[in-house]
């Protein structure tokens, strides 16, 4: 009797194993919560009748890189991961991500040409594609139209050049009523680099050429904003979300931030606000802006590359839902965003879409965190008056050169 039981359970087990073999389970790690795209799309894909089950794991923003590196080093990496775009090259350059170039070329759903150049550049390493952009964002200039009119400025012509921006900030600045001219973030974190790099880029610099005259001028301009009290000294330690919070409460007349602010601003800001493109060094100069958000990638040691790519294809096929359902911007130019019915938001969206065309990736470089740190240090040293903008940026250039030479 005992033998019989063990035999029958062995049979049952092997039958179970056969049934399992048809059903592939892939793991997806992302930082998206319930009301954000990845979690929902992963569930939908899992529930489809395609023999693929998705095991979704939510990871915190701060842990994405360390968690996945640790998992990769110990052979427990997920099949698919959503990674912040400046950190994409860190993985791609080390062969941790699967080369998707051929799969994308054959895909009927994903068309590389449809993506904005910035996001596409961030998933590219040595001319090969190592991922697919998940969503995108950028920064532009928010301004309080009521404050403009009150100060005798034309709300229909926001500042277009750097000089005009400073001049406008001076006019709008009103210490008696605790109103700063402008709010932005120069925090010593990725946010500081995110905000500063576009200024360097539109004046002919870049992450690899950070000590150009234009970048020095930009940093001096930031210093002017702080020294003259046109922006709060807390700009040095406050992130974009908190800085823009002061704009929403009417304590700053302009703010530089991204589309992630829109929903909160619609609710909180009790005044007419609008969005303009980031001002440029002088009229006719080239535009630039920061590029944020995450990319999809497949780990190189996955057992199910085809199924994983199929999942990413499904995610990409739902890009048209990103904005209406989740408030995120697709990284593609071939998707029409339907109006939301909230006038200031719709108007802002058009500006952000235009700004996106000028958005540039940070890097890509496998040592991005170190490059970024050098830029943050330069910003902070100059703004706290410990070094001139020129010396600070020269110092940053020296350490960036050392990283690039490695």
């Amino acid at each position: 009797m005992r033998y019989l039981t063990s035999i029958s359970s062995a049979v049952l087990l092997s039958v179970g194993a056969v049934a399992q073999a048809e059903d592939v389970t892939i793991t997806v790690w992302s930082l998206d919560k319930e009301n954000q795209p990845a979690m929902n799309l992963a569930r939908e894909f899992s529930e489809m009748d395609n023999g693929i089950t998705v095991d979704y794991r939510l990871i915190q923003f701060d842990d994405v890189v360390t968690e996945s590196m640790r998992a990769f080093a110990t052979g427990q990496a997920p099949d698919i991961i959503a990674v912040d775009n400046p950190e994409h090259a860190l993985f791609a350059a080390r062969g941790a991500f699967l080369d998707l170039t051929d799969r994308v070329a054959e895909s009927e759903i994903i068309n590389a040409d449809a993506y904005f150049p910035g996001p596409l550049n961030s998933v590219t390493w040595n001319d090969r594609l190592y991922g697919v952009p998940k969503a995108t964002n950028t920064i532009a200039l928010y301004y309080n139209a009521d404050a403009f009119e009150k100060a005798g400025l034309d709300a229909d012509s926001p500042p277009e050049t750097w000089a005009e921006l400073v001049e406008t900030a001076r006019t709008l600045n009103n210490p008696e009523e605790s109103v700063y001219g402008i709010a932005f973030s120069a925090k010593a974190s990725e946010e500081g680099t995110f905000q500063f790099l576009p200024w360097a880029q539109m004046s002919g610099g870049g992450y690899d050429k950070i000590n150009t005259d234009g970048a020095v001028e930009a940093l001096n301009l930031w210093k002017t904003l702080l020294d003259e009290g046109l922006a709060s000294p807390d700009t040095l330690t406050r992130g974009q979300w908190d800085s823009t919070g002061t704009f929403n409460s009417g304590n700053a007349a302009m703010a530089i931030s991204g589309p992630w602010e829109l929903n909160r601003m619609v609710e909180e800001a009790k005044f007419n606000w609008r969005v303009a493109l980031l001002p440029v060094p002088e009229e006719g100069a080239q535009r630039a802006s920061a590029m944020g958000d995450f990319n999809w990638a497949i780990f190189a040691n996955t057992d199910h590359p085809d199924e994983a790519f199929q999942a990413i294809e499904y995610f990409a096929s739902q890009d048209h839902r990103l904005f209406p359902e989740f408030g995120q911007l697709p990284a593609r130019s071939d998707i029409e965003l339907p109006p939301t019915g909230v006038a200031p938001k719709d108007a802002a969206l058009q500006v952000f879409l235009e700004q996106l065309q000028y958005a540039q990736a940070r890097g890509p470089h496998p040592e991005w965190p170190k490059i970024s740190k050098s830029i943050q240090d330069a910003i902070q040293l100059a703004l706290t008056g410990q070094m001139t903008a020129e010396d600070a940026l020269n110092r940053a250039q020296t350490s960036i050169d050392a990283v690039l030479a490695d």
């Binding site: 701060d62 590196m69 080093a73 080390r94 605790s178 010593a188 974190s189 807390d234 330690t237 703004l383």
Partner: protein, 300 residues
Amino acid sequence: MRRIKSSIVDGVGFDLLLVGIPLVFLILFSGLPLLYNVLMSFQEVDLFSLGDVFRPFVGLDNYRALLAQPEFWPIMWNTVIFVTCSIGGQFLLGFALAVFFNTGFRGSTFIRGLFLVSWVMPGLVVGATWNWILAGDFGVLNYILDSLGLISKNIFWRSDIDYSLWAVVITNIWLGTAFNMILLSVGLAGIPKDLYEAASLDGATAFQQFWTITVPMMRSTTGAVICLGLIFTLQQFDLFAAITSGGPANSSNVAQYWAWELSFRQYDFARGAAISTIMIAFVMIASVFYVRSTRHEVRG
């Protein structure tokens, strides 16, 4: 067999067992990570070799690279300022409060208990609360100082390089005072009352009693409190993360926060480990003093 058993139930074996369990626990969860950290500080580590134990050995290269960084000495100096001022403030305030509550007025034990609330709160919560108090434009502290006529312009506690470290020091003093007070209260309670009675019969003033009885009798407690304070202060990480993130321009950066920044922000685990190792050395020295100052507490 039986002898072993009886020894475990009642004898030397029982003692060894009692000592053994925490010892194994300590070695597993403190000793090994500590050694691993020291080992890592002599290796070349990157994100992809995180899972290995044996990595390329680079000798003192990580330490040399650290010393060559321009922020090394300023950060070490900040650490010294942070530790001394935090401990000094916590100890003096804690001692004053302990003596005050030791007078035994009505409700003193109850109020003393309430003071412990600050110590019970998680560092991040304390940090977030003090963030509002210290805020530049609309902070309560600036409002109070302004109302008292002490300042004419708002102090940007978190963003001014001259104040940022002090913002964390003030918060840390607030956080640690209650703990110092409780330990010192215990010490005070242990001083025999007849000493004071004899002294007052001899006509000693309260001030003389304090200097000639309280202070000398509190010596070992003081040593222990300060050593513990040193260890806790060197561990203080949450407040930096919550209040200044070490900024602006590293003006409030200290060794423990820098170690984390290097490891988990720039993914330079080897240098992060090197700083931790330097700190381990300091804490070891403090521990020696701590053990010595508490040694004669063991009686019987």
